[in-house]
Amino acid sequence: MTRGRHRVAITGVGLVTPLGHDSTSTWKALSAGRSGVGAISSFDAGGFPVRIAAEVKGFDARAAIDDRKLLKFANRAHGFALGAAEEAVRDAGVRPERSTATRWGCVVGSGMMNVEFAELGDLHRQCCVEDEFNAARLFATETLADPIAFCRSQTNAGLALLLRRFGIRGYASAVHTACASGGQAVGTAMKLIRRGTVDCVIAGGFDSMITPIGLAAFCLLGALSPDNQAPTRASRPFDATRNGFVLGEGAGFLVLEEWEAARRRGARIYAELAGDGNSLSSYRITDSHPSGDGPIQAMQRALADAGAVAEDVDYINAHGTSTPMNDRSECAAIRAVFGARPIAVSSTKSLMGHLIAGAGAVEAALCALAIHHSLMPVNANLVEPDPECHLDFVRGRPRRQRIRMALSNSFGFGGSNSCVALRHPESIDE
């Protein structure tokens, strides 16, 4: 099925992460092994069992997007998305024009419904009578009088803002498969160019669950590291002492273009977006099978889709959440696919936490930068590797090495597994 399909180039990268407000500062912090994790500052988390997260600090979307009217409709995560997408488009040096707008697409991995905590408080004060919800009292609330509150809460609100901001008039969609969302969005976008639906796509993911409700939800599941006293050490994927993930927030965006068109305009190509693998674990809502069943198929499909074999891969940006189950299952999956062959693996969540619906897109972007800079990001905080996670981890410092192909894994609650394959632009057989 590979004959005659279009090749896809990554020509622009944009990031807003706990490590920086753009891709340059994020990459610099990542290369220096600087952690973005700290005590939560955006609200008083003092009473929560977990009081640490990887926050995007001091980001003002107005600095990135000169459109105050548009930003009125943007929540925190939408601001990250607009900022990262703007950087990606500038970085690529191409943007939708009147004559090309219908040939541009946009695919995003977006988070769950986002009702501002203050709005929920307003509804509670007005509508809760002796703990019973009284719908008739909704009429009196400020939240219901505010159409912008409605717009911000809609699941495709972020997509709407991006389409409007960039004037994109071709294919668009928002996907949500929990922590696999960003990876699936990037994979979906690649296929649009392959099948000729559009010529260029702005693809990415964004999320911000560092809110009282978001933090509460993950605390309740017992999924977060409780290491409040040592925040920068809390996220330690594949370490024997790992005890949960650290919540992050932010956005990652890529500009994807049809390969030949990108070459013709002399674009800088970070990497080929070469393959997408996608599977369901169908085991438990929150876990993959200990054998790696599910993630195995995702990686195999990504390789097959890229027309590659295991020997072509030099680096895997692991899902590596730092939860006991995920990391063990993922290692089993990597061993099943790659056998005894040493393959460099790291989880950048060790420094920037878990960006949930944004994670897959941010990490795909990091793979593009890793290929571009020939530098594998470090898996920080890996002191005592779990004997069950025996792989060639990038420990201590980043590893300088040419990367012919990189894989980015993202596995979501609900059992969706995404793996995208990126190829070095000079590794392509013409």
Binding site: A101, M112, V115, A136, Q154, L163, H176, Q184, N278
Partner: protein, 426 residues
């Protein structure tokens, strides 16, 4: 092209549930006979509301729809509907019966080659209300909120709110492990799930996919917001009518098993129809605004025709989005004329009968469109009185019309200026 490749995509099973019935035949019968299943909201006291009407599933009993008792604590109303429709479609397609005939290795291969594509409404306001007891306890103090959290809230709360719950549970219930996606693209979600499923099959990514759209948007906060935005009707949904005043919400789900012709033939499945192609466009006007000239839907239709490799004249009927709002209907009529000229094929729309199912609407429209082209009957829009002069040339009527061919066009539109056109053949 022969049946042996994967360029031909068959529909081999369908399931649906909404106010008008719990299976495709029942919904079809209601719509065809001109009965509306819309009535007063019963889930809360809405008697004094400006819009107390919706297409509610009257005898909704989750434990009857999904007999598996264990899963219910993790499912919302919308998830139950999605799972139910998917189970019915999987049954109708005979997927599990077929798998039971395979040896272990072939069954594992079957699971790996069977995907799940879902269009989901995403979140719901009322799920957030689960935090109200904690907010009462906290009384405005976040410290107390954090400390009392684990004593007050169900530890599984997050898992009940996942927009991809239906995708997850279809997989777990039936052990399906193929490619998957959950689209949260408002009212085009279900249509796009079918379109993307067909595209994935064409690309050889799977042999069959269960495509589902599901939504249950009838809740107080949603209805009030939509009413304040002027999008809801006072009495009935009257698409293309001069007196139309807006839309009414419904709830439900629809599912189609789509399969490559080769895979369907190999297991001896009977095709119910074919997915010919699709087109997807945006208008870039913002969340709610749409263009008056029908630019978005017109381009989506043109792309779908191109994707299917057919001429506009081959289309035998159109299921319009027809949500009954002032702007959407007029621009949709303009789009239809832009593509089909002065005399388009017969047009109908179904929301008058069971309300707007948002993320599920396009999937249910697709099921009904296939039934229409199979019978050769385009059901009428029973609420239609006098056509809006701006839609005067649109061949839409209160009475049934004959189809012009066995090809149906389904048009879905949603927030963010999204338009998806889907072409199906009986």
């Amino acid at each position: 092209m022969t049946d042996g490749d994967c360029s031909k995509i068959f529909v081999t099973g369908m399931g649906s549930i909404c106010a008008a019935g719990k299976n495709p035949d029942a919904v079809w019968e209601t719509v065809r006979s001109g009965r509306s299943a819309i009535g007063p909201v019963t889930q809360w006291d809405a008697s004094t509301w400006p819009t107390p009407l919706a297409g509610e599933i009257g005898d909704f009993d989750p434990r009857v729809l999904i007999p598996d008792r264990k899963v219910h604590k993790l499912l919302r109303r919308t998830d139950v509907l999605g799972l139910y429709a998917a189970d019915r479609a999987i049954d109708a397609a005979g997927l599990l019966a077929h798998r039971a005939t395979l040896d272990a290795e072939a069954a594992a291969e079957f699971n790996d080659r069977t995907g799940v594509y879902v269009g989901s409404g995403g979140g719901a306001y009322h799920i957030q209300y689960d935090f109200f007891p904690l907010l009462t306890v906290a009384d405005g103090d976040l410290g107390t909120f954090g400390r009392e959290l684990t004593a007050t809230i169900n530890p599984m709360w997050l898992l009940r709110t996942l927009p991809n719950n239906v995708l997850c549970h279809i997989g777990i219930r039936h052990d399906l492990k193929g490619p998957n996606v959950c689209l949260t693209t408002h009212s085009v979600s279900g249509t796009l799930a079918i379109a993307e499923a067909a595209a994935a099959l064409r690309a050889g990514e799977a042999e069959r996919i269960v495509a589902v759209g599901h939504d249950a948007p009838i809740e107080p906060q949603m209805i009030l917001y939509l009413d304040r935005l002027g999008l809801l009707a006072r009495d009935a949904v009257r698409p293309f009518d001069v007196r139309r005043s807006g839309c009414l919400l419904g709830e439900g789900a629809a599912a189609l098993v789509v399969e490559t012709a080769a895979a369907a033939r190999d297991r001896g499945a009977t095709p119910l129809g074919e997915v010919l192609g699709s087109g997807c466009t945006s208008e870039a006007e913002g969340l709610i605004a749409i263009r008056a000239d029908g630019d978005g839907p017109a381009r989506a239709i043109a792309l779908a025709l191109d994707d299917a490799g057919i001429e506009a004249a081959a289309v035998g009927m159109i299921v319009a989005h027809g949500n009954g709002t002032r702007n959407s209907d007029v621009s949709e009529a303009a789009a239809i004329h832009r593509v089909f000229g002065a005399s388009p094929p017969p047009v109908t729309a179904f929301k008058w009968a069971f309300g707007h199912l948002l993320a599920a609407s396009g999937a249910l429209d697709a099921v009904l469109a296939l039934m229409a082209v199979r019978c050769g009957v385009v059901p009428g829009v029973a609420t239609l009185g006098a056509r809006d002069p701006e839609c005067a040339d649109l061949p839409v009527s209160a009475a049934p019309q004959p189809t012009r061919s066995d090809v149906a066009l389904v048009l879905s539109r949603g927030f963010a200026g999204m338009n998806v056109a889907l072409l199906l053949r009986a």
